[in-house]
């Protein structure tokens, strides 16, 4: 019989394997932040409207706030903590610094994960397409121009 007890959930997060016991209603976002203490992923609206919680699940960008952790048993998750390192930033991180792509920084982990997902998808060719495909990540400081500039720079470099 189903019950509301903890469920075993195996997640590989940033290359590290974890065997967690979670209630079915725990979001992937809360599992990352509270259970694994990976607070780089941000809780903005918690309703799928802002994109601050964007992470990569099996290489695809998704919203961790609308994902139940129990449904991602066996998945590989990449959060901002798994992108770049102290001595070697990811090209998208470098470009964000070079293009002044943030102010307060709260949306930045989600923006960077989303940008990496977008580049991996390979569907955005023009600036207008990049803008449209990044529309799920809001920036209340208004750094959007810098964000799109940064993504275009990485895209152009890699071509």
């Amino acid at each position: 019989m189903p019950d509301q007890n903890n469920q075993p959930v195996a997640l590989t997060v940033n290359g590290h394997q974890h065997r967690l016991e979670l209630k079915p209603w725990v979001s992937l976002l809360d599992a990352l932040r509270h259970t694994l203490d990976l607070t780089g992923t941000k809780k903005g609206c918690d309703h799928g409207q802002c994109g601050a919680c964007t992470v990569l699940v099996d290489g695809k960008r998704v919203l961790s706030c609308l994902t139940l952790a129990v449904m991602k048993d066996g998945s590989e998750i990449t959060t901002i903590e798994g992108i770049g390192s102290q001595d070697g930033l990811h090209p998208v991180q470098k470009a964000f610094i070079e293009h002044d792509a943030f102010q307060c920084g709260y949306c930045t982990p989600g923006q960077i994960c989303s940008a990496i997902g977008l580049l991996e998808e390979g569907k955005a060719q023009t600036r207008e397409e990049v803008q449209d495909l990044m529309s799920g990540n809001l920036c209340r400081c208004g750094a959007n121009r810098g964000i799109i500039n940064a993504i275009m720079a990485v895209k152009n470099e890699s071509e």
Binding site: P2, D3, Q4, Q7, K23, P24, W25, S27, D46, H47, G48, G51, T54, K60, R61, V62, L63, L66, T67, L68, V70, M71, S114, G117, L118, E121, K123, T126, E128, E129, Q131, D132, L133, M134, S135, G136, N137
Partner: protein, 339 residues
């Protein structure tokens, strides 16, 4: 959200039985709508039945008769970017990409897209009545803030609109919905899938208890030469439509031989007018004829205090999108106006 149990099923039949026998059980696939609704306590469940363990339902297949079947568990993104959809059904591809965001399209499934709930703010707000949430409690939208609400097919009990983009294209393409329940499988024509509110606005569609969408079939028809989707909204991306229009034509020797025009954001289901589509048959594709077709589509339109602008906007959108369908290569990201 409320506390609930979780079951992952591997067979459609098992899921069907669980959902039929237990009204407190709800199905979950992509989760992008139901998890949000549960966080608002608009939907409550004693158990979530996860459909993602069902094999073979996340694929596209081409049938012997030339139609294409989209698996219900295929994501919106996988569908929009599938080479067969991009080539044979570009309207569907563009329309899906005008909805939600990159992240949500990576999660949301085709079956779930058909089952998403209205975005009426009164439906989401527990402090006010709503006939859709609590039948018989009333509809504050009729005399309230109704900017995003219906202008066609509404009733005295509900003026909510169905928010999907994808379904507007599916309506125009005469898709069929394949479902499986405890009594077997059946197919539902797309126009018969969603309902108008009438006096039962709590019913969004004609699925029976325990029935699960297994796939969506696209008929073997080629509208890749003349198609367009136009979506008008308060910001140019990642917002629901105030008005959207999906148009496809077949044109031979300068005359329209087949026309389909479906509207989103105007009613409780994607809206089509057989009268307008018949009118265009045999006509030349001109602004004047499109304007007459628009008048036929909107003849019965009735607005409310804050959304009367939609009637005029819909007319302009229909005409413009028909013109855009003549030059589909001008389509822009987010289904913005291109001509």
């Amino acid at each position: 959200m409320n506390n609930f149990s979780y079951i992952k099923t591997k067979e459609t039949a098992d899921a069907s039985v669980l959902l039929k026998e237990n009204t407190g059980h709800k199905a979950i696939a992509g989760g992008t709508n139901i998890v949000d609704l549960m966080k608002y306590f608009v939907v409550e469940a004693d158990t979530l039945v996860d459909l993602n363990g069902i094999q073979g339902m996340d694929e596209l297949s081409e049938t012997e008769k030339g139609s294409v079947r989209l698996g219900a568990l295929m994501t919106n993104a996988a569908t929009a970017y599938h080479p067969v959809i991009e080539k044979k059904y570009p309207l569907l591809s563009k329309t899906i990409l005008a909805g939600a965001s990159g992240q949500i399209r990576n999660m949301a499934t085709n079956g779930g897209n058909l089952l998403q709930k209205t975005r009426c703010y009164y439906f989401y707000d527990h402090s006010v009545p709503c006939n859709k949430r609590e039948p018989g409690s009333g509809c504050p939208a009729i005399k309230g803030y109704n900017r995003i609400h219906a202008i066609l097919g509404h009733s005295q009990d509900c003026i909510a609109v169905f928010p999907s983009d994808m379904c507007v294209a599916l309506a125009a393409l005469n898709a069929k919905v394949h479902v499986q329940g405890t009594e077997g499988e059946r197919q539902i024509d797309f126009e018969d899938f969603h309902r108008l509110p009438g006096d039962t606005p709590e019913l969004d569609n004609n699925l029976k208890q325990g029935e699960i969408i297994t796939g969506i079939e696209l008929p073997d028809e080629d509208f890749s030469q003349n198609y367009s989707y136009l979506k008008l909204r308060d910001r140019s991306s990642y917002a629901f439509a105030l008005i959207s229009v999906a148009t496809v034509f077949k044109i031979e020797n300068g005359q329209i031989t087949e026309a389909r025009i479906a509207l989103g954001g105007v009613a409780h289901k994607p809206w089509r007018s057989k009268e307008a589509e018949e009118f265009l048959k045999g006509k030349i594709p001109s602004r004047e004829n499109f304007a007459q077709a628009a008048d036929l589509i909107l003849a019965e339109a009735q607005g409310f205090k804050h959304n009367r602008f939609k009637i005029d906007l819909a007319k302009k959108a229909i005409i413009r999108n028909c013109m855009m369908a003549l030059e589909p290569e001008t389509q822009r990201p987010g289904a913005k106006p291109s001509l």
